[in-house]
Structures are given as C-alpha cells and as structure tokens.
C-alpha cells in the first residue's frame, strides 16, 4: 500500500504501532510530489525543509512517549487563501504574490497545536473565484484522473493534492461549492461546515456571508476527525457560533435505517449529465436498501439561487477586495506618479480577469440606483431560499443531489463564457446561501473513468446527520478508485 495514499487514521494507527515514523511519511509524500508535481501544478509553494524539520521534532515527541492524537505528524496541504504566518500567502494572485502574513489564521493555530505538518500552500482559483482552477496566476491545476481536464475549483489544488497523494488531506474554502465541487471532480471527500462553525479569521475574504473553511480528505472518517480540530467558537470572528463542538467521530455509524432523505427536484434538472444522475439514483437505491425513506421534494426558489449568489458574492467581494491597493502590502505599480494612477494600475495589473469581472459586477449591484433592484432584492430572495430549506428539513433529515452537473470538463472548455462556468455550481450554491452543512463523497466513476460526486446536505448545525449518512453511504458505495497517475 503506497504510504502517500493512506488515510490519516491509518497512518495514526501505524505511528502508534511504531510501524512508521513521521519523517518516513513526510518523505514519502514529498517523493510523490516530486513525481507528479509538474504534471498537476497543485502547489503554489512547498515547505519541504520545514516539513522535514517538523517531522523530526514530532518523531522525537513520539519516542519520548507523547500520545499520538489525530493529525499529529500528518502532512496536510493548506489552500493559499488561508494565512500562514511568515509563509507567503498569495490567493493565487499576482497582487499578493509576495505577501507574507504577520499572523496565523485561527485554523492554522489549531492545527499547529496538534503538531500537523504543513506540506505547502495549495494552488487555487484566484481569490477563490472560479470552478476549474484555471484562474490562477500560477497556472492551472490539472485533474489527476486526466491531466487534460480541470480538477474543479476554487479549491482545485487541495482536491488534486489529496487525489494524487501529494498530501494526506487538505484544507480548502467553500463559498459557492469550492470544496465540494473539486472534491467531486477529483474523487475525494470534501466538507463545508455550517456557516459559523469554523472561524474565518485568517481566511482571505471572498464573500463574507458565504465563506467557510473545510477539509478535503480520502474518507469520511478523516473528515470527521478534521472537523473536531477546526470547528469551534473563535472570539476573533464575530460571525463565529458559540456552541459546544460535538465529537464528530461519534457520528461515524453505518446504520441510517429510518433516515428520511429528500431529493430536491430543482437540483436534478436537464443540465445534469446522464451518468451523474444515474450515480445519484444508484445511491438512492442503496439508501432505500438500508431502510431509508427517499422522496422527491421541490424547493422552487432554488431556480434563482445562481443569480442570488452571483449578486451577493460579487457585491461582498467587490468590497472585500478594495483593500488590495498597493499601499500597505501586495503588488504596487511603482511607476505611477499619482495616487489614483497607483491604485488603478496596481489593481488592473495585479488582478486576473475573473476577479476584475466580479469586482465590476459587485460594484454595479451596490451602486446608487441599482442597490435595491440587485443587492437588496437578492437578499430578499435569499430569505426565500432559506425558507424553502427550512420547510424541507421539517420533513427530511438530509437532502441529496449531485455535487456537480458534470464530471471533470476539459481545460479551456468553459473559459469563453463566464456564465457557462458559473452553471457548474448550481447544485452547491444554494447550500452556502442558507449556511447549511454539506459534504461531497465519491459515488462512482463515469464511463470515461472520471469521478462522480454525491452531495449530502444537512440542516443548520446538523453535521451529525450529514456525517452519518455520508459514512454509511460511503461504505455501501465502496468507492476505491485512484487516478492512474
């Protein structure tokens, strides 16, 4: 069994049994990175030296008799929009190419206290805006299952790392599906927690009311273990929920008999690939065989979710990205002779096209005369969408749908028309608008050997239901595929 394809819980077991050392694990992962790195481009920056040095320290701790807790000594990739102190954090943008954070994101502090090993900063769509990881200043990331295809986005790097064995697991961020959709396209597990369960302090903001950090892992068990570490109240984040964090691993039970499962009609529309739909139907059958009750349900306002999302996300982003002006950090056009010249040139030269597009759209939606019709209107429709979900969860424990309408598409295929790209997110977007927890698990392979993802959505703070269902279905589906890389 290749070490770089083991799960964190398997590696923990081996560490406990002294069958392997942390240094061996890290070396093995880096060997794999060297082997496939050029073909995938999943990393913006590697931290090999410090990783090996940390591994040595962890090995010392272990031989000194330290308890081995989850993720101790485990190589983890971190999406490059999560601030790591003293380690360049670029958001895959020219405008932050040389930005060195002066502080750690809260999630990083938590992982550090568990002695994790940072492999490096994972590539992504610039400022988390994209669904294919083709919008990176550092070049596109390739899908390990077929390097002519996209890994999904914006957490394309984190997903590819896990799928290809370049990291045991990774941290990504999800605003409209950015963890789940690439997880789906790369055949790995990706989880977006309830909005507010994971601190956003240190996550470079894209859309403040939608962003959440979450894990990408090889299986649901690793995912639950990671949630135990990163979830929880942070007083530095005013939108952080102050509730007791359960032991998410306690929900890893294979029995979901009696669970009521809803299938939103609006998320099984014509645009969904036939093979993808079939995978979902196969899973429904498995669930029913396990004693679940599965029914179709309509959430009519979901039809407008894409529009609501693009208005709200772009508006919030246009404001969040105003701070990138070349004054205090980041790229500055040094030839500019006046302030306004400096602002405009730095931002025009520092941001990629998709980012500029969204800033323009967002600025428009917030501007005088348009605010009511666009931003505020979208906020009202958002209330309707939340209402539809609330009603659905009165009847059902979880909802399932495809994660992505298609399997991985070819590089360049959707770059001509931004709108086509946006449609990749129709299944995942509504979840962020309502702040719900959701997971994507591999549900099978298509005829062309490309992963298909299944999305499981829970009610607010009902990670328990999501994990229970995910764990059970994962066992039932029995997906073991690996990219041929």
């Amino acid at each position: 069994m290749e070490i770089h394809y083991l799960t964190a819980h398997q590696l923990k077991d081996m560490l406990e049994k002294r069958q392997i050392s942390c240094t061996e694990i890290v070396k093995s992962v880096y060997l794999r990175i060297e082997e496939v790195g050029d073909r995938l481009n999943s990393y913006v920056r590697l931290e090999k030296e410090s990783a090996l040095s940390r591994a040595g320290e962890v090995d010392k701790l272990i031989s000194a008799g330290s308890d081995i807790e989850d993720f101790m000594g485990i190589p983890i990739a971190v999406k490059d929009n999560i601030c790591t102190k003293n380690i360049t954090t670029t958001c895959a943008s020219r405008i932050l190419e040389n930005y060195i954070p002066i502080y750690n994101a809260t999630v990083i502090d938590r992982l550090e206290s568990r002695n994790y090993i940072l492999t490096g900063k994972a590539n992504m769509d610039e400022f988390a805006m994209g669904s294919s990881n083709e919008n990176s200043y550092f070049g596109a990331v390739k899908n390990p299952w077929d390097t002519d295809r996209v890994p999904g986005g914006s957490s394309g790097g984190p997903a590819a790392c896990v799928a290809a064995g370049e990291a045991v697991c990774s941290l990504g961020s999800d605003t409209g599906g950015s963890i789940r959709q690439p997880a789906s396209l790369c055949g790995v597990v990706g989880f977006k927690p309830t909005y507010g369960m994971v601190s956003r302090y240190g996550l470079v903001a894209f859309a403040s009311s939608l962003d959440q950090i979450g894990p990408l892992t090889r299986d649901v068990e690793d995912c639950a273990a990671m949630l135990n570490i990163i979830c929880g109240y942070d007083r530095k984040d005013s939108t952080s929920i102050n509730v007791e964090v359960p032991d998410y691993k306690s929900f890893l039970k294979a029995d979901i008999k009696g669970m009521k499962i809803g299938v939103p009609k609006e998320l099984m529309v014509e645009g969904i690939d036939r093979e993808v739909k079939e995978a979902v139907y196969r899973t429904i059958k498995l669930a029913e065989d396990m004693g679940c009750i599965v029914e179709e349900i309509s959430l009519p306002s979901l039809e407008y979710a894409l529009s609501v999302y693009y208005i709200i996300a772009s508006s919030e982003a246009s404001s969040n990205l105003s701070r990138f002006d070349g004054v205090r950090y980041g790229y500055r056009n040094m030839e500019a002779r006046t302030l306004r010249e400096m602002y405009r040139r730095s931002r025009a030269e520092g941001f990629g096209d998709e980012v500029k597009r969204r800033i323009m759209i967002g600025t428009y939606c917030l501007s005088a005369g348009y605010y009511d019709a666009y931003y505020e209107k979208a906020q009202r429709v958002r209330t309707l969408i939340m209402g539809d979900f609330k009603k659905a969860f009165e009847k059902f424990d979880i909802l399932i749908s495809p994660t992505s309408p298609t399997t991985a598409f070819k590089i360049g295929e959707k770059m001509k028309d931004p709108l086509t790209m946006y449609l990749s997110d129709i299944c995942t977007i509504p979840v962020n608008l309502a702040g719900l927890p959701a997971i994507s698990i591999p549900a099978g392979l298509s005829g062309s050997k490309l992963p298909i993802g299944l999305q499981i959505i829970g009610n607010v703070l009902r990670e328990d239901n999501v994990l229970k269902a995910a764990y059970s279905l994962e066992k039932a589906i029995g997906f073991t595929g690996k990219p041929g890389l």
């Binding site: 929009n81 999560i82 601030c83 954090t89 958001c91 932050l96 930005y99 954070p101 002066i102 502080y103 994101a105 956003r200 302090y201 240190g202 996550l203 470079v204 903001a205 859309a207 403040s208 009311s209 007083r235 530095k236 984040d237 005013s238 939108t239 508006s315 919030e316 404001s319 105003s322 701070r323 990138f324 002006d325 004054v327 205090r328 950090y329 302030l339 602002y343 600025t363 917030l366 501007s367 005088a368 605010y371 931003y375």
Partner: protein
C-alpha cells in the same frame, strides 16, 4: 443687503472616544508617539482580518445619545461605507447608515436673549482613519509629491453627531459647539479637544431670503478646526453665497475648505463628484439589539447635565442666572459649591468667593478646585467669621490667600496673625484721636465740605491698626467727631 438673508447651518461633529482600545480591535489608542506602533492585522486591513465590536464604545455612544435626548434604536447595525483613500486600511469604513444608534434628539443653546433649540438628527458610531502626513515644503496635499501614512489612529472609535439645519448664525454655531463640548466633557467619554483632533466639525451651509421656507443649495465646509475658525468660516461662507446670489448666479453644491490664513473658503477640486459610497450592511458583524435594561443602566451613569444643574441652582439656591451657569458648567466648581452649601446657608456668598478670588488663584496656579488646599469646611468657617464681623473684607482676602497656600484653619490663621478686627470703640477712639491730631489740614478740608477727607482719615486709621479696624465703626466715630 445681508439683512434680507438668513443663514441656514447644520453641523456634523466627530468625537473621538477615549476608550482603552480601538473600535474593532484590541490595539490601544495612541497619543502622538512613533508611527505605526499601535496596529494589528485588523486595523491595518490585512487580508483575512475581522472586526469585533468594543462594548465600551457602544456604551459611551449611547451615553452621548441619551444626553442629547435621542431615542436609542432597539436594533442597530453597522454598514460599510466604500471609498478609496490611503488613510483607509480597508478602503471601506465600518460606519452606520440607516439604522444609527440614536435619532431625534435636541440640544438647547442659550444665546442670552433667546434659546436656540438645535435638533439632533442622529448619533452614530464609526471608526476613525489613519493619519496622512504630506511630504513637501508646505505640508499641504496639493503641494506634496508624496504622503506618509500612519495607522496608529486607524480604528479609533468615533461618534458622529449630526444636527438638523436649525442653526441660524456663526455665533449660534460656536455656542452650540461650546455647549456640546461641555456636555461631552461632563460625560467623561472624550477629551473633546479641537487642537488634539478629538473634536472635529464640518458644516453644511446655505442661505435664503428671510422668511422663505425652502432650503437653498448647501455647501459643505471642512477644516474648521477651532471655535474661532468655525465662526469666521461660516461668516465668510454666508457672505460669499449671498454675493453669488445677488450677482444673479447659483450656489454650486460642493465641498469647500476653510483657509485660516486668508479667512476664506476654497474648493480643492475643479470637478466635484458626488460620492457613491455603496453602503451595505457589514457582513462581518452581527446586529446589536439594545435592551431597555442596558439603556437604563447607561442612563444611570450620566451625571446631572450642566443646563439641568444650572436651572436647579437658580431654583434651589436662588442664584442669579450668571452665577448658576458659571458654576454648573464646571463639574468641579459645582460640586465644591454644593459641598459648601451643606455647611453654610448664604449660597450667594459662597458663589461670589468661588467665582472671584478662588477662581483667580486656581487659574493662576493652573490647578483645579479639587486640588486646592482650601477645604469646603474651611471656606465656610471663614465666611462665618466674616459674618460675625471678626475680620473685615480686606483681612479676609489675606486670610483666604494664606489658607490657599498652607491649607490652614481660618480661625487659627487669624489668631496666629493677630488679625481679628478691632471693634472696640474705646480703642478705636484713641487711634482716631491720634489721626485727627496728626492731620489737622485734612480735618479742615472736611469742615470745608470735602467728604473725601473722611476716606483719607479712615485710611490712616487702617494703617495704624494694620488694617484690622472695623471700617464701619471707624467711619461712624470719625463722622461723629468731625461734625
């Protein structure tokens, strides 16, 4: 020409609160030291940083709003005000828009012959910007080649108080600012210093023909950074606008800066752009629901306000308006005064001494009445002694100064100095006889009808008795003897 017009003024005042820490992060507030030493990822606007509301700032803001008779909104939120400027760490300011903390208040400004009630439209909270220093020979933006930004001040809690355009003259504007400033000082929530920049004022000015209802086109006047400049700037702007209208032109809506060197207002930009701030609710902060209990708790911490106290002094102690205002507008003096009134019942007497000799001495020493060595007990004792006729007013002044310098008991000072007034008629007669004998010429003058002569003779008696003679008795005896 001017009399046909009236000036319509609204004021926007910014007050820097002196909480321990900034509005949205735990950095201390700075007091003009080295640049960029009180900053953190939040107030530097670093990527990934998030704001957290300072509870004390909300309390102080509510205090101000309540003191201004505002209605506190039960549900209030922050908005983002988006615009780019180098002193802005995020290029948006976290401020309040359509759900401010306090609305619908007023402040009465006593102009002497009338009272101007200035309605307060709103009181809201926001964060301050950093400071810009302009490199170049004159330090002015237009003449600099570069600027330096210091973010120590960025994030300091600010309260904005906006009035309706109820003010009708530069004098009223100045009085309003003085009353507002005193009020806020009373609440102990800010240094309120225009020199230090913890009190800032912008004005919206227009003119119209007297009697008209419609408000004319207004200009915004900035850089009015002292009470004097405020008055001058508004006076100039009224004149300027009237001249424009009289010449048949229209007042252009624009922002103008007051230039203290020339005493005029000027536009900085040739093209005036209306700002589109694209306000939207701040997604990184959650709403504030203010409970009644919180409002009551804050209300309890507000000390008796100056104008309320002044009215009370007039009623309770029978003091004239001038005295009441004088004392009520200084919390320390007012407290001292009332402490004295508990032990001694001639309030006017106490007031006179505090407003007169006492104030003169403490001002000279640049101290507060609290710091002085004269206790209320001792001042009252001295006043009782004077009432009993044991010392005259001249000696009293000397005793008072001695008390001020040494903090001593007045009775003891009088005894030690042998300063008791001489009222013994027998003793005084003897001295008076001496004086009359020594000054025959003056006596002659008096007999010829020059009454001033008496004063001279009294003076001689005072000199001989080292000022201790009872002047009334001396006067009586001399007058009797000479007539």
């Amino acid at each position: 020409m001017k009399n046909q017009y009236e000036q319509v003024i609204g004021l926007e005042t910014h007050v820097e609160l002196y909480t321990n820490t900034k509005m949205f992060c735990g950095c201390r507030l700075s007091f003009g030291e080295e640049k960029n030493i009180y900053t953190c990822p939040v107030c530097l606007g670093h990527p990934g940083s998030l704001p957290v509301i300072n509870k004390k700032a909300i309390e102080y803001a509510a205090k101000i709003a309540l003191a201004l008779n505002c209605k506190i909104k039960k549900y209030t939120i922050f908005h983002r005000k988006n615009y780019f400027y180098p002193d802005m760490p995020k290029n948006y300011q976290i401020s309040q828009y359509d759900l401010p903390l306090g609305v619908g208040g007023w402040l009465d400004v006593d102009m002497g012959s009338y009272i101007r009630r200035v309605r307060i439209t709103r009181v809201h909270m926001e964060e301050d910007t950093g400071k810009l220093l302009h490199k170049g020979t004159t330090g002015r933006i237009s003449e600099s080649e570069a600027s330096i930004v210091d973010f120590n001040r960025a994030g300091t809690p600010l309260i904005e108080v906006v009035t309706e355009p109820d003010i009708r003259s530069p004098e009223e504007a100045k009085e309003y600012m003085i009353v507002l400033r005193n009020l806020i000082l009373f609440l102990d929530v800010s240094n309120c210093s225009m020199e230090e920049g913890s009190l800032r004022c912008d004005a919206n000015v227009s003119v119209r023909k007297a009697g008209e209802d419609k408000i004319g086109t207004k200009t915004e006047i900035k850089n009015l950074n002292s009470f004097k400049f405020l008055q001058k700037g508004l006076g100039y702007e009224a004149k300027r606008q009237i001249e424009v209208l009289e010449a048949g032109g229209k007042v252009i809506q624009q922002t103008r800066h007051y230039d203290s060197k020339t005493g005029t207002t000027k536009t900085l930009r040739s093209k005036e752009e209306a700002h589109d701030y694209r306000y939207f609710p701040e997604p990184d902060l959650v709403p504030i629901y203010i409970e009644d209990k919180m409002i009551e708790d804050i209300r309890k911490t507000i000390p008796e306000l100056p104008y309320v106290k002044a009215k009370r002094f007039e009623k309770q102690y029978g003091l004239p308006k001038y005295d009441s205002n004088f004392l009520a507008n200084n919390k320390d003096l007012a407290d001292y005064f009332e402490q004295c009134c508990r032990r001694y019942n001639n309030a006017k007497n106490i007031a006179n001494w505090i407003m007169g000799d006492f104030s003169a001495l403490i001002n000279k020493e640049k101290m507060t009445i609290k710091d002085s060595r004269i206790t209320p007990e001792n001042l009252c004792k001295m006043l009782e002694i004077i009432d009993k006729g044991k010392i005259n007013s001249k000696i009293a002044k000397a005793v008072f100064e001695e008390m001020f310098n040494t903090g001593g008991d007045p009775q003891k000072i009088i005894e030690d100095g042998g300063l008791e007034q001489i009222s013994d008629e027998g003793l005084l007669e003897a001295v008076i006889e001496e004086v009359i004998k020594e000054n025959p010429g003056v006596v002659e003058q008096f007999k010829e009808g020059k009454n001033k002569a008496v004063g001279f003779l009294i003076g001689r008696v005072m000199a001989k008795t080292k000022g201790k003679a009872n002047p009334r008795i001396v006067n009586n005896i001399i007058t009797k003897k000479l007539s």
